[in-house]
């Protein structure tokens, strides 16, 4: 019933305010659509369903590494990850999700620091 296609377009939700005061620590929330098939489940025929998970989530701010997640199969499906970021100057925040097959989904947001 649920599909596990070879190539998946990930749907992404990011909550990052458009502008923030300098030196404020912002909580950034992200949600991405991915079944995170652990590889431990069996289908109706008793066969193992192959593992299909995200491999990593990587965030940079003005080119600097802020946060990274290396996923295990124990992260729940449709991963929700919230992390923090200290606003210094206006610039780009890049969000990158990498799937286990190497496919990358990248989203770029502008953060204005007042």
């Amino acid at each position: 019933m649920s599909e596990a296609p070879e190539s998946m377009t990930l749907k992404v939700r990011i909550s990052l305010p458009e502008s923030v005061a300098a030196n404020d620590i912002v909580e950034v929330k992200t949600l991405v659509s991915h079944p995170m098939e652990s590889g431990f489940r069996l289908n109706g025929m008793g066969e193992g369903i192959p593992r299909n998970i995200l491999s990593r989530f990587f965030v940079t701010y003005r080119g600097e590494m802020i946060f990274e997640t290396i996923f295990g199969p124990g992260v729940a499906a449709n991963p929700y990850i919230a992390f923090s970021l200290r606003a210094t100057e206006s610039g780009e925040v890049r969000f990158l999700w990498e799937q286990q097959n190497g496919e990358v989904t990248e989203v770029v947001r502008q953060l204005a620091v007042l």
Binding site: M1, S2, E3, K11, R13, S15, K29, L31, V32, S33, P35, M36, A76, A77, N78, Y80
Partner: protein, 282 residues
């Protein structure tokens, strides 16, 4: 006091002191439990039982733990919203041979979901929201047909249902009474090896525990739902299949007439609950 009595008292005190460890395992759900052990649903008392259920209609949300409730409440991180986002995009996207988008015909999609299931005038039969999406896709957009539980169908259904959030389903029209009656019959019909009808659990025992599960009223206003057990968004018909399999009855197909009529009946008994899609359930 004899030493025997003293030792018994000490043992009693110890058990009492240790009970917090055990109490941790006792779980009080956030919902008030309404136990309504109603009468056997004989045809005559059906309407009474129905009125009872209607006057105390409670959505599935009220039967969930606070963790699950907060997942649904947080519109940002409600996993079902991922499908709503996709549905919003798909609705505006040209599809099929003529490159028509849903939006081209349906400029005001808000509120549509509250009218389903309804009679499709061309086919002159009862069709649910997802069924209509499938029909539109194939007939009006001339696009590749989509499966009932496919990602596209779920996304579009989730989006349309989400647009009707906060409103109750429309009252069932006269023209639908025949289908409604069949849906009602299905609801009260005992089935499967376990010989249970929907009413046995969801009317007579709503608020009681079935092993570790708190039985809800089986309302449909939250659908399509993100079910933690499925780890994905799923349709009402998928849930019907799970229930039928649960009582060891042969389930019907997704989008089948039987389930669409049942869906109609659930719509009628959900008054005055508002649509709350996409809901989160365990």
């Amino acid at each position: 006091m004899t030493s025997r009595r003293l030792s018994l008292m000490l043992l009693f005190a110890l058990v009492h002191i240790m009970s917090p460890a055990v109490a941790e395992l006792n779980y009080e759900p956030s919902a008030e439990l309404s136990s309504e052990p109603g009468p056997e649903p004989s045809p005559e008392s059906r309407s009474t039982a129905q009125t009872k259920a209607q006057t105390k209609a409670k959505q599935g949300y009220d039967y969930q733990s606070s963790d699950v409730q907060s997942l649904q409440d947080d519109e940002f991180s409600n996993p079902g919203m991922l499908w709503v986002d996709e549905g919003r995009e798909l609705f505006a996207q040209p599809a099929g041979a003529d490159g028509q988008a849903c939006l081209d015909c349906h400029q005001q999609p808000a509120g549509m979901a509250a009218y389903y299931p309804r009679i499709n005038p061309r086919l002159n039969k009862l069709v649910g929201l997802t069924g209509q999406v499938q029909i539109c896709r194939e007939t009006h957009q001339n696009a590749t047909p989509i499966a009932y539980e496919s990602r596209t169908a779920l996304a579009l259904t989730a989006y349309l249902a989400f647009l009707s959030r906060g409103e109750p389903f429309q009252p069932v029209a006269e023209s639908l009474q025949a289908d409604l009656g069949q849906g009602r019959d299905y609801y009260y019909q005992r089935k499967g090896q376990l010989n249970l009808s929907c009413a046995e659990c969801h009317e007579q025992n709503a608020g009681q525990y079935l092993r570790g599960d708190l039985v809800s009223q089986g309302q449909s206003t939250g659908y399509p739902i993100y079910r933690l057990e499925w780890q994905t968004l799923g349709s009402l018909h998928r849930r019907f299949r799970s229930c039928d399999i649960g009582v060891r009855a042969e389930p019907y197909g997704l989008g089948s007439d039987a389930y669409t009529r049942l869906e109609l009946y659930l719509r009628s008994r959900s008054q005055p609950l508002p649509i709350s899609a996409p809901a989160v359930r365990k």
